[in-house]
Symmetry: C2
Subunit: 293 residues, 2 copies
Amino acid sequence: MRHIDEDNITQAVIARHAQASDARLRDVMTSLVQHLHAFAREVRLTEAEWRAGLHFLAEAGRHGDARRQELALLSDTLGLSMLVSALNHRVPKGCTEATVPGPLHAGAGDDGHDHAAPLPADDDRHAAAVAGEPCFVRGQVRALDGAPVAGAEVRVWPAAAAGGHDGPRGAAVSGPDGRFQCRGMLAGTHAIPHDGPVGRLLQQLGRHPWRPAHLHVAVDAPGYRRLLTQVFRGGDRWLDSDAVFGVRGSLVADWARHEPGPTPDGGTSAVPFHTLDFDFVLDRAPAARPPSD
Amino acid sequence: MRHIDEDNITQAVIARHAQASDARLRDVMTSLVQHLHAFAREVRLTEAEWRAGLHFLAEAGRHGDARRQELALLSDTLGLSMLVSALNHRVPKGCTEATVPGPLHAGAGDDGHDHAAPLPADDDRHAAAVAGEPCFVRGQVRALDGAPVAGAEVRVWPAAAAGGHDGPRGAAVSGPDGRFQCRGMLAGTHAIPHDGPVGRLLQQLGRHPWRPAHLHVAVDAPGYRRLLTQVFRGGDRWLDSDAVFGVRGSLVADWARHEPGPTPDGGTSAVPFHTLDFDFVLDRAPAARPPSD
């Protein structure tokens, strides 16, 4: 095809990939090229806009470091991260829903989060180091049919502060009745990092960088699909406008605040503390699926 | 909209941009988000692919330097650069067509090329420094109605070698009959830079990095739209598979090769030289349009 013009170029590019050895890569690139070209045609992208877009992406690519990937932030704020999460974590009605893994994807493990650090051997010691107010999370881990799931590992951690590290983690293992209780830290409202190119874009779009207060939760149990989600605090002012579009109605819950005194774990808190009751319903892992999925 | 799911997220993101102060930015982002999400849905993008895509873009963003923008190369090889050029340089039938500005966009002026360097005052001196064989380009600059265009500035330069700088330029101004002749350098076949992420992608897609031999041409004349194009050498083996999809049938021409001896400019060449006869038909600039368009 020697004569390339604005009408035939998309097919010309796609045809060039016919010899790709990886069929999946070919299919992904075919769809990508079609949508990229359709976008340029639809808005009749100017050359100045095209250059501005390339410069924006290059700046974002250079902006990242070990703790921050600006392009992941871009994906988050354009709803792509949440969409990809939703497409890959469809669960039967009644199971606890997943949500966007969060705005910081550095050192991503297979769920987009950094789990390289070992779990604390002594949760209380870590919880004691928490600067905020403690939060006791308790509930039951169940299968869709209502059967309790024993031996499920439940981990909770607060949202990362802007540009900072994930907070300390609390962890517990569910008992024979599926019930668990672990001590975490109150999740506060926070802004995603917005001192870079993505922050500038949000401002140009008239958007704020805030996320509603939430607690990250991971639940792992043999025979079930890993659940990676967030529980949002009811009444938060940003529930309707989460900067990364992660709020699902089923994941909003009430935290109860308690005055200093005896805590559910039999101890005593000298500062106010919180309790959150939340049950997690897991989806069975397909037999053919590797456990890491 | 509190409950985000895979069906409503696209509208949720678009709705968030309703307050953007710049209507054009809002429209561009609306289309971008729709196509980005449609792509992810169409291929049901996996989380591993999503992360690989982000890493690829970040690596490409970091790969550029003052002479090379890897993301511009990506745009070139996916046909986006050529499409944007075609969308923005539609000309009436009979006018000389534009093509992709080329694979190196560093220091881009308003046409995507570095014109910061002043034109050589003495073309012959520059042409003499050319390592390849000289090429005499001659022809006529005309308007669409056939009227000769006098005083048009014609500049020619060879394709940049991989990763290198654009070659030396030849320049001429058309006479009262619209005719011009300038001395350039023979354009050779060359590969686009392919030692980075884009080169890896091309390899995975079963694609080569070659461009057919071509000569860059810019023609500027008061009252006419700037023409920025390339003339391709007939018979080149890569004409049908230009790595950046820039070949238009109307831009393919024959170079005639001559043995050492007298040259069209009245001089003598001690090495073989070439002649290329090519006329350029300019599109009138809309009266309302600023001259820089």
